[in-house]
């Protein structure tokens, strides 16, 4: 009874936080485009707050730059349980075009924090990001919440 009630609440109100770990901000503006009336992220109960302390979903863009090697874990620890991490774009997966000799980046992202889902693309279209968030977000958060108990 209590579990199913918690499930409903966890699925219907999701707070997201965006962390740019050194990308070109192409993915970031596609995430901003998600807020626009055409895609309207908030109708699905996903709210952008950009505050790790109240985030359920952490969206990470960019190859991991020098400064983020330690800070990523700190930010991940600040987010309350249950939480999921979605990597947006090709950079957190492989470093993409930046992953060449002479660059100062440290991909992939899953060496630093556990990643639940990835959306490849440079940058992925807003519909793809939205699709991934809705496919993985609510159920994964609810499932993780049950596991902990």
């Amino acid at each position: 009874m209590l579990d199913s009630l918690k499930d409903v609440i966890r699925k219907s109100s999701i707070h997201a936080c965006l962390i740019n770990t050194g990308g070109c901000n192409g993915c970031d503006i596609e995430i901003v485009a998600l807020l626009s009336p055409r895609y309207d992220l908030e109708q699905y109960g996903i709210y952008f707050h950009n505050n790790p302390r109240e985030a359920d979903v952490i969206l990470v863009t960019g190859p991991v730059a020098e400064q983020w090697k330690e800070n990523l874990q700190r930010i991940y620890a600040k987010a309350p349980n249950p939480k999921i991490v979605v990597a947006i774009g090709a950079c957190p997966l492989s470093g993409h075009v930046f992953n060449q000799e002479g660059s100062a980046i440290y991909p992939p992202l899953n060496e630093f924090i556990p990643v639940d889902a990835s959306v490849p693309g440079c940058p992925p279209r807003p519909t793809e990001i939205l699709g991934a968030l809705l496919a993985v977000g609510p159920d994964a958060i609810a499932a993780k919440g049950r596991q902990k108990e």
Binding site: N20, G22, D28, Q67, G102, S103, A104
Partner: protein, 381 residues
């Protein structure tokens, strides 16, 4: 007292640390920490052919990605002493101005978000989506267009696509006029924006501010007026204002959108026939090239041996604008909330701003990486 804001903060889209010096609630100064998104693009570009580096130049910045490839390819054309075919130059103008429209709308929407006027924030984003569609029709992609090559553009535009771009622009133009008026005459918006974050003309020259931020402080420079294709074929006005506050900076961007729509319409109507790409033989040499990005002047300095890039340096507009913001606009701001709004009004783009300072731990010697020839001498890894 020092109030730190960032790098992850509800008001900021990109990571940066603002240290605001406050007395009571008044902000009297600021310090800015960069370094959160440094990737070392210039270093990666060295020793590569232009075909491999043009993708990297596109990914310097996602919002103004188009102008970076244009400036990069034009620099190589300048080294070869040739120009792209006229049709390609016109198509570049169309794409550049479409990019400027979406960038300005995004910048204004961010500003309205920080002064918590969500209605205008949503209006701006909904105006922006048709423009992104127009960009996609023309080039095939929404953000990273991969459209410029040395000697022209990759794809020719079809008549049917140009027609639908004209339709999109007509729709945009018919709706557009009410939004600047809402901002200009709204009493609350005026209270939050007028006389906040003032920068005088002298200060903006001292800070080397560029683009709409400088033009809002009585500077009438616009690099587009010096470009041959704009000068000879297209008719437009340089928008500038005298107030120098947040209100002026946003109004300046609002008015530039109207001018950009005018330029695109002229360019589509007068689009010449012909090829869109030609072969360019690149000799060894050096050239620098400047262009007007949505945020101001972007400059590329490239040295090549005819095949590989020997040295490259990129100067992007946001670094001067953010510096102007920290030094001159944050002198006398009433509250921290207003300071954040002032910061958003300069349209900061961190991804292209990133610089690195290397401090040798043993000797304490500081290498500042700037200019063309320093890049080569420092090994980052």
């Amino acid at each position: 007292m020092i109030v730190p804001i960032g790098p992850i903060h509800p008001a900021l889209k990109e990571p940066l640390r603002l240290k605001l010096q406050t007395r009571g609630e008044k902000v009297i100064g600021a310090e800015i920490d960069y370094g959160y998104v440094h990737r070392g693009i210039e270093r990666v570009m060295e020793g590569k052919t232009w075909q491999k580096a043009v993708y990297l130049s596109e990914r310097v910045c996602g919002i103004c990605s188009y102008i970076h490839t244009q400036t990069f390819t034009e620099t190589f054309e300048k080294i070869a002493g040739e120009e792209a075919p006229l049709r390609a130059q016109f198509l570049r103008v169309i794409a550049n101005e479409l990019d400027r429209i979406q960038s300005h709308l995004l910048a204004n929407s961010t500003y309205f978000n920080t002064i918590e006027h969500e209605t205008l924030f949503m209006y701006m984003l909904s105006l922006r989506e048709p423009v992104m569609d127009a960009i996609e029709l023309l080039t095939g992609n929404r953000v990273h267009m991969a459209w410029n090559v040395v000697g022209g553009v990759r794809l020719d535009a079809k008549e049917v696509h140009l027609k639908s771009i004209m339709n999109i622009l007509d729709n945009l133009e018919s709706q557009y006029a009410r939004y600047p008026q809402m901002f200009e005459h709204g009493p609350l918006l005026g209270l939050r924006s007028k006389d906040v974050g003032y920068m005088s003309k002298e200060d903006s020259i001292k800070a080397r501010a560029v683009g709409p931020i400088a033009r809002a402080s009585s500077i009438t420079e616009d690099l587009r007026t010096e470009k041959p294709v704009y000068k000879d074929h297209l008719d437009f006005n340089v928008i500038w204002r005298g107030e120098g506050d947040n209100f002026a900076r946003n109004m300046n961007r609002f008015d530039e959108v109207t001018e950009s729509i005018k330029i695109i319409k002229q360019a589509i109507e007068n689009l010449p026939e012909g090829k869109v790409r030609k072969k360019v033989n690149i000799p060894a040499g050096y050239a620098d090239n400047r262009n007007e990005a949505p945020r101001g002047e972007v400059a590329y300095m490239i040295e090549t041996n005819g095949n590989l890039i020997k040295n490259i340096s990129i100067r992007t507009p946001s670094i001067m604008n953010i510096d102007a913001c920290a030094r001159y606009m944050f002198k006398d701001v009433a509250t921290v909330a207003d300071a954040v709004a002032t910061y958003a009004s300069v349209d900061p783009c961190i991804a292209c701003t990133e610089r690195v300072t290397i401090i040798d731990e043993e000797s304490g010697k500081v290498h500042e990486v700037n200019g063309l020839h320093n890049v080569k001498s420092i090994n980052l890894k």
